[in-house]
């Protein structure tokens, strides 16, 4: 209820302030057993070599990491990166106004809107992707409707293209953007925004200088939640892209299942994970440095 945390007002020796460490145990055990150990396994396998019949031979080598520098594989990485960035940007563009609207709607409507955002999750992702194939195909719902309304004369060939992949990814991950954004906007103090209006800030400035900085944690959370899974997507490019090209996810799947080259597949997965982690660390560092600068300039009082 109260914005201030009551525990901070108590002395450190108070039993109430003692943090219950055991609360950490279940998630730690879970992550240890189901995330960390498999991760180490993947790391170990990535330094092994493929046996003739697809097994793993435990001879230590960096060969898999060297292979990855091949332009062919770099191209797959870049392609996935481009698609993931585009997906994230589109999700943000679509998700922000939606989240803002929901968070500003009357309380009883908010629940309904949020429910509508989450409802697609009740159906299996594969099934929903197949539904998109029915919508997008030549004689599908979209073309039938558009032609019926006389808007187009010839069906739009959109299925089995990068556009279709992008549509599928944005559709699939939009809720992951909307939910954290909603939480951020919900917590945004309305009076601050009103103050900006009262001081005759133009609409853009209200957004740029007040709303955006205050909702940024939600934006970052949403972007991360959309970017990472879309980088590793493989069902969408296969079904909506017609398997005409590959994303990293398809390459990993191919190496693991078809080529049965687990070591190379592991190396690709690990580099992918490393790149994402590195990107996030760099981002955090830059962001922290920038915030430091801002504080300094504010304190200096030289702000226009």
């Amino acid at each position: 209820m109260s914005p201030s945390d009551p525990s901070t007002t108590l002395s450190d020796h108070s039993p109430i302030s003692r943090r219950p460490t055991w609360l950490l145990l279940p998630p730690l055990a879970w992550l240890g057993a189901f995330f960390f150990v498999p991760l180490l396994l993947v790391l170990a396998i990535s330094f092994a070599t493929r046996g003739t019949y697809g097994g793993v031979e435990w001879t230590f080598s960096f060969a898999n990491y060297v292979t990855m520098l091949d332009p062919l594989y770099l191209k797959i990485y870049l392609r996935s990166l481009a698609l993931a960035v585009a997906t994230t940007a589109l999700c943000l563009l679509l998700g922000f106004p939606l989240a803002y609207y929901i968070a500003r709607a009357p309380a009883r409507w908010q629940g309904i809107w949020l429910l509508l955002v989450i409802i697609p999750f009740w159906t299996n992702f594969l099934v929903r992707t197949y539904a998109w194939m029915f919508i997008l195909r030549t004689e599908g719902l979209m073309n039938t409707l558009l032609m019926g309304m006389g808007l187009i004369e010839h069906p739009i060939e959109i299925l089995y293209s990068d556009t279709a992949v992008l549509i599928g990814l944005v559709y699939g991950y939009l809720p992951f953007m909307v939910l954290p954004l909603y939480a951020a906007v919900e917590r945004l103090d309305r009076s601050v925004v009103e103050a900006a209006w009262d001081l005759y800030a133009p609409a853009w400035a209200v957004f740029r200088r007040v709303i955006w900085p205050l909702t940024k944690p939600g934006v970052i959370a949403g972007c991360i939640l959309v970017f990472i899974p879309s980088l590793g997507a493989f069902i969408t490019p296969d079904l909506l892209g017609g398997a005409r090209t590959m994303m990293v996810g398809n390459l990993i799947q191919h190496e693991y299942l078809v080529a049965r080259d687990w070591p190379f597949g592991s190396a690709i997965s690990f580099v992918l994970m490393g790149l994402v982690l590195l990107g996030m660390l760099v981002y955090l560092k830059v962001e922290r440095a920038r915030q430091g600068d801002e504080t300094v300039s504010w304190a200096g009082g030289d702000r226009q």
């Binding site: 195909r137 004689e139 917590r187 078809v258």
Partner: protein, 367 residues
């Protein structure tokens, strides 16, 4: 209001967890076969044995399974996979408890080499004597020590005769520019390269890097014409007219014919793939005798004929063909004409050359 926000945030964090719970709720066979006592069993014995059958999705006739259960006084649990690779990955990652599994020919040879299969006792599978001639002495298991072919067929071209009036007889039709955007290819590297190698007049098991490179160039030139690479839904694409030429297995093409009668099937003159899904018993099976009995049952000519009628895949039992519906028997997508048999080739293990195929396939996809 703040509290509400927290509640909503926490529901949001619960989402991924819910996902995983939902995913993990899928039945897994890792509890293995157990001799579970069953009350009221009509059988004289007090316990019911359970046989675990791991097969392709949509590859069983439930009434045939039920008939076996009744005859043998056992319970058969059917679990399905959708690709050979998935099957192997599951078995390699330690899934045990399956008794009878249905890998395709090339996967049988991999599973033999990996030591996953139990030797068959052919005295318990007398129906082996009824195997069709072309399914005996297969390169990967000539003595049927580990495997018996079950259903078999070919790879060819399904086409819409209403759009393509002169029946195509060559793989070259898949390179004809006028069918741009109306062609689907299997999403399977060996089959796609096989088609290119065959049109070049080569074996689809070529290991020569030059040949594989040439085949890749040929496929790159074809790619702009290809609407999609798919192994799953080309029957629907054919039936709906989205594609007029589909590189594919006979069974799905035969299914498309049922919806769109103008669909026809051809095995190109350059030759193509013959394949067989085989019945094998896993080394880890604890019901090997029952497993052999089940295999023999599936190979029985009556059972086999009913399976063929239902699935539109040819049975390995040569005597079953006479019992199959006239229309199904005459369908080249189900039973290839005898004249085509000598130009069919099995997909063989190409050893280390598989790396060349892997790479060429990735290159094709990235063009």
């Amino acid at each position: 209001m703040r509290d509400l926000a927290h509640i909503r945030l926490s529901t949001f964090y619960l989402l991924p967890l819910t996902f995983y719970l939902l995913i993990s709720c899928q039945p897994t066979p890792d509890d293995g076969p157990k001799n579970t006592p069953k009350a009221g069993s009509s059988d004289a014995s007090q316990t019911t044995t359970t046989l675990h059958y791991f097969t392709w999705s949509d590859y069983v006739g439930p009434e045939l399974i039920a008939a076996f259960e009744k005859a043998a006084g056992v319970k058969v649990v059917v679990d399905t996979f959708s690709s050979n690779e998935e099957l192997l990955a599951k078995l390699q990652s330690g899934a045990i408890g399956y008794d009878v599994v249905v890998p395709s020919d090339f996967m049988v040879s991999i599973m033999i080499k990996q030591g996953l299969l139990a030797e068959l006792d052919l005295t318990k599978i007398p129906n082996v004597s009824m195997l069709a001639e072309q399914l005996r002495r297969l390169p990967f298991d000539p003595e049927h020590r580990y495997s018996v072919p079950y259903l078999w067929g070919t790879v060819g071209i399904g086409y819409d005769s209403a759009v393509i009036p002169t029946p195509p007889d060559s793989w070259a039709v898949l390179w004809e520019p006028r069918y741009k955007g109306k062609i689907s290819m299997l999403n399977d590297q060996r089959e796609v390269f096989g088609a290119a190698l065959r049109v070049m007049g080569q074996s689809l098991n070529a290991k020569d890097p030059m040949l594989i490179e040439q085949a890749k160039a040929k496929l790159v030139s074809q790619k702009p014409l290809v609407k999609t690479y798919t192994s799953d839904n080309y029957d629907q694409l054919l039936a709906s007219g989205e594609v007029v030429l589909a590189h594919g297995w006979g069974g799905p093409v035969a299914r498309a014919m049922a919806v769109r009668p103008s669909i026809k099937y051809v095995i190109p003159k350059e030759g193509s793939t013959i394949w067989a899904d085989c019945l094998v018993v896993l080394k880890t099976s604890r019901n090997k005798d029952l497993a052999m009995r089940f295999i023999n049952y599936l190979l029985d000519r009556e059972v086999a004929a009913r399976t063929t009628n239902r699935l539109l895949f040819a049975s390995s039992n040569r005597e079953a063909k006479a019992l199959v519906d006239e229309k199904v028997r005459a369908n080249p997508a189900v039973y290839p004409p005898d004249s085509a048999l000598n130009r069919l080739e099995w997909i063989a293990d190409v050893g280390e050359a598989i790396r060349l195929y892997d790479r060429a396939w990735t290159e094709l996809k990235m063009r």
